[in-house]
């Protein structure tokens, strides 16, 4: 699991009326270009471009940053591992292996070549979708991942379409009843829910729904010949677990984001214009609240990608997460590296989406001076 639902990015103290892209996060982009500074120097093409099309420039910058990050991560996943102590060949064969056997296996796995060469060929393969062969099963990693990635996305997708409307709805409910009983109840329950480990929720649901009531299936196995409805019923419990895991955090962040907008000076202005509640929310609060809320959702979806790891193990669901955990226990490095890179790619992509949505929603950037 990842720190997402426990600490989470703080959205609460944005300046009223100004939606900052989360520049403190991994983006590292300037919150907004400084026209005074860039305009005076004028110089290069890029500077002029930033000045004239700050929105496009920022998005391009953010995109470039993500690509760079992904590249650096690939280097870390591959090269960093090389730097760590421990020899794959010994691990692979066990401590009692003869030096000759170790030597053979090194050659077999291609470990005798310099690591830069192996990295380049690995990266070249990864870009074209070829992750080599598994040490354990000798099967193509890409083939295995192809099946399992679909399963994982299927799970995450349904978790998302249940949790997102639910979280936004509950968040709005909490705002509506701010500091009154419903809000306090939601607050206490969500605080507790944040503290529950995924596997605890998972087994609790299994014990109750699958074993005692017998209304759900366990383990949640899916195979190719299953019909769509059969699949749905198989993933009901894992989806419910994932929803419970992300819901509380998404809801708390949504609440904070909406409250931030509702307490802004321009909502007060709208109130002092004598506008009705509906008009204030629809016309004045919503356009400014949509962006942070979408940002919240994107961040939590990024977490969801990671949450599937534990949930898949609990429910014995044939997805990427289980594949990776199995590979880690038998130290099947090509699989571990491939899965690690794909998970990281999803995570980086969703974080980028969150940032770009925040940039898009900022009227200061959409309508430059």
């Amino acid at each position: 699991m990842e720190s997402g639902p426990i600490t989470g990015p703080v959205l609460t103290d944005g300046v009223a009326g100004e939606t900052h892209p989360r520049s403190a996060d991994l983006s590292g982009i300037p919150a907004k270009p400084n026209p005074a500074a860039t305009g005076e120097n004028g110089g290069s093409f890029w500077r002029r471009f930033i000045f004239r099309r700050p929105l496009v420039a920022l998005i391009l910058q953010r995109f470039g940053l993500s690509v760079g990050l992904l590249f650096a991560v690939s280097l870390m996943i591959f090269g960093g591992i090389e730097a760590l102590p421990g020899d794959f060949a010994t691990t692979y064969l066990g401590q009692s292996a003869t030096p000759q056997a170790v030597e053979n296996i090194r050659k077999d796995l291609g470990l005798d070549k310099p690591w830069s060469e192996r990295y380049l060929s690995w990266l070249g393969g990864a870009v074209t979708g070829d992750f080599g062969t598994s040490w354990a099963s000798k099967n193509s990693v890409s083939e295995q991942i192809g099946n399992r990635l679909g399963n994982s996305l299927f799970l995450a997708f349904f978790a998302a379409i249940v949790s997102v409307p639910l979280a936004v709805g509950l968040g709005m409910l909490a705002v509506q009843f701010r500091n009154r009983l419903p809000d306090k109840i939601i607050n206490v329950i969500s605080l507790a829910a944040i503290s529950l480990p995924e596997f605890f929720i998972g087994y609790l649901l299994i014990l109750f729904f699958a074993v005692q009531l017998g209304v759900a299936t366990f383990p949640a196995t899916v195979y190719d010949s299953m019909s769509f409805t059969e699949r749905l019923s198989a993933i009901a419990l894992p989806v419910a677990t994932l929803v419970l895991v992300v819901l509380a955090h998404m809801m708390r962040m949504t609440r904070a984001a909406i409250l931030n907008v509702m307490s802004s000076a321009y909502v007060e202005t709208a109130e002092l214009k004598g506008l009705g509640t509906f008009r204030i929310i629809a016309r004045h609060a919503a356009p400014n609240a949509v962006a942070p809320v979408i940002n919240v959702i994107a961040l939590n979806l990024a977490y969801l990608v990671v949450g599937v790891v534990v949930v898949e193990v609990v429910f014995v669901y044939p997805g990427m997460g289980q594949y990776m955990v199995d590979a880690v226990t038998v130290r099947d490095m090509p699989v571990v590296q491939a899965c690690g890179l794909i998970f990281a790619a999803f995570y980086i992509f969703l974080n980028m989406a969150a940032d770009i949505l925040a940039i898009l929603a900022n009227p200061r950037l959409r309508h430059p001076r």
């Binding site: 009326g17 000076a265 214009k273 400014n288 009227p363």
Partner: protein
């Protein structure tokens, strides 16, 4: 004829939630009554915490945060709006009574065009058709002197300057043709030269449209220009209530008298300005991103005297202070102190050099470590520069506290337990503890209420007489310059405009900028605005 607005015996309370304590009910306003006739302007004046904004919002039956109106009546055309239901209140707000906030930048919705926001209330209340509302908005943009009034409404709030936004907010309030507008410190956040334009625009617009107004401000000189009546408030209660003429020219209460006379102090400059303690020679400075702030600035200050540096925001006056302290090394030029050139950067200076120049900040709140007591704050320079400790140090801290007229009983207080003025005094004591020869004062009084500010200025003058310390006093306020300076430097956009003895700088012939600056400072005199506007071209194209 009944009054347009009649407030009777108003009582306003708020619930505060101090951390870790049970909630407390605080009375913000009590027993306040006033009337506003059609087309007249009532000025509400008071220091921070006087409850003036809270009273202003009560005219819209609105309480900010946990604020509640718990007693009295607010009669609008004879009808108590406090007794109205939600839709009744909504039909008053934005229709009969409109509001202009202090910070227009925050009060405009960043997601919508200015024009749409200006005409929104008129349309939603069905006061006029969209065509008519647009025409009226255009008319108001013209009256308020906004640039390119035809296309102004197409712009977004972040695309126009602060002064323009404040005028747009006034247009927004005037658009539905209300009977009353509440102006809540509409010019406080603006520069002096911008403030006068906005003030003139507001005055012109409400005269033109015959709208009544509540004008809330802390600046008596400002309200004297625009209001027919004035109510002076203090700590939620009425101090004095009368016509503008009576309050300004013949105040009855001591408090009002003090407010009226607060800006009148003048000091004669030192006759001999020949010696030199500090010399700034042809300084250029800028930030690492290439943005140049100071261009070729030179000035000097004799020992034991005060040099006032005047300018608006962006003039580079605070940057100059950073250059003198070494926080921002100049790119060219040099700083000579007591005949010796100072190392450019802070790191290169010895503790002795640092000791001789001390600094006082604008916000005493952030200038003192909130986790240290007064004893620690004032005592640190003593142990750091002079190695004092124990009883000797405590004794010296006590002496310093006596010097700033506070006394030893404040030794173990934390900054949070002090008032704004007391904090600034402690900051002065901390500077004095180093026995400096020069104190840089960066707007030390501009965050304070006028009477408290005057106390601080008097203290600084007294200390100068006692210890012969020199001051570089950075300010935007000409009245302060008159009160304390020996010599004056006027800065504008990073350049020195004028420098010399006070008597010369502040008397004609003026350059354009100094002229503009001097004529922009409101004076405690009815009719000053009209008089000055005749001699000064309104800069409608500017802010």
């Amino acid at each position: 004829m009944p009054d347009l607005l009649s407030v009777k015996n108003l009582k306003i309370e708020a619930t505060s939630y101090p951390p870790g304590e049970p909630p407390k009910v605080v009375t913000l306003v009590e027993g306040v009554s006033f009337n506003v006739e059609k087309g007249k302007v009532l000025g509400l004046i008071g220091e921070s915490g006087a409850g003036k904004s809270t009273i202003g919002l009560s005219a819209l039956a609105y309480g900010r945060g946990g604020v509640r109106i718990t007693g009295g009546e607010v009669l609008l055309n004879g009808r108590d709006i406090l007794k109205l239901d939600r839709s009744g209140i909504n039909s008053v707000r934005g229709c009969h009574v409109c509001y202009v906030a202090q910070s227009a930048a925050a009060a405009f919705n960043p997601a919508h065009k200015l024009g749409d926001q200006v005409i929104e209330a008129s349309l939603r209340h069905g006061i006029m058709s969209k065509e008519d509302a647009k025409k009226r908005a255009l008319y108001l943009f013209r009256v308020l002197g906004l640039p390119n009034p035809e296309s102004f409404g197409e712009r977004y709030p972040h695309q126009v300057s602060g002064g323009q936004l404040q005028r747009a907010m006034t247009a927004m309030a005037l658009c539905p043709n209300p009977e009353l507008i509440v102006f809540d410190e509409p010019t406080t956040a603006l520069d002096v030269t911008t403030q006068i334009d906005v003030l003139a625009a507001i005055k012109h617009a409400i005269e033109e449209t015959h709208t009544a107004a509540l004008y809330i401000t802390h600046d008596l000189a400002v309200v004297a220009q625009i209001s027919d009546d004035i109510m002076v408030l203090r700590q939620g209660k009425t101090v004095e209530y009368g016509t503008t003429k009576q309050v300004i020219e013949a105040p009855k209460e001591d408090y009002t008298r003090a407010l009226v006379s607060v800006r009148q102090a003048k000091r004669d400059e030192a006759p001999d300005q020949s010696g030199t303690l500090l010399k700034i020679e042809r300084v250029h400075a800028g930030y690492s991103n290439g943005f140049k702030v100071l261009h070729d600035v030179s000035m000097h200050l004799p020992k034991g005297q005060t040099l006032a540096i005047v300018g608006e925001s962006g003039s580079g006056k605070s940057t100059l202070a950073r250059v003198i302290t070494g926080l921002l090394p100049p790119s060219e030029g040099r700083i000579v102190f007591d005949g010796k050139e100072l190392p450019k950067a802070l790191k290169g200076r010895s503790n002795e050099e640092l000791r001789r120049i001390q600094m006082i900040y604008q916000m005493a709140d952030t200038a003192m470590n909130p986790r240290q007591t007064v004893r620690d704050i004032v005592g640190r320079p003593l142990s750091f520069y002079f190695g004092m400790h124990g009883a000797k140090k405590t004794e010296r801290v006590g002496e310093l506290l006596d010097q700033i007229e506070m006394g030893s009983r404040f030794l173990d207080r934390y900054p949070a337990e002090l008032s704004g003025g007391q904090k600034q005094r402690v900051a002065i004591a901390r500077a004095l503890a180093a026995r400096p020869e020069l104190i840089l004062c960066d707007e030390p009084t501009s965050a304070l209420d006028p009477l408290v500010a005057e106390g601080i200025l008097n203290l600084l003058m007294k200390l100068q007489e006692e210890t012969a310390v020199s001051y570089v006093f950075i300010t935007h306020d000409i009245a302060i310059v008159r009160a304390i300076a020996d010599s004056v430097a006027v800065m504008h956009r990073g350049r020195l405009v004028r420098f010399g003895p006070k008597s010369k700088v502040l008397s004609p012939p003026f350059d354009d900028y100094t002229d503009l600056l001097l004529k922009s400072v409101p004076e405690m005199e009815i009719g000053w605005l009209e008089r000055v506007l005749k001699t000064r071209r309104m800069e409608s194209a500017g802010n």
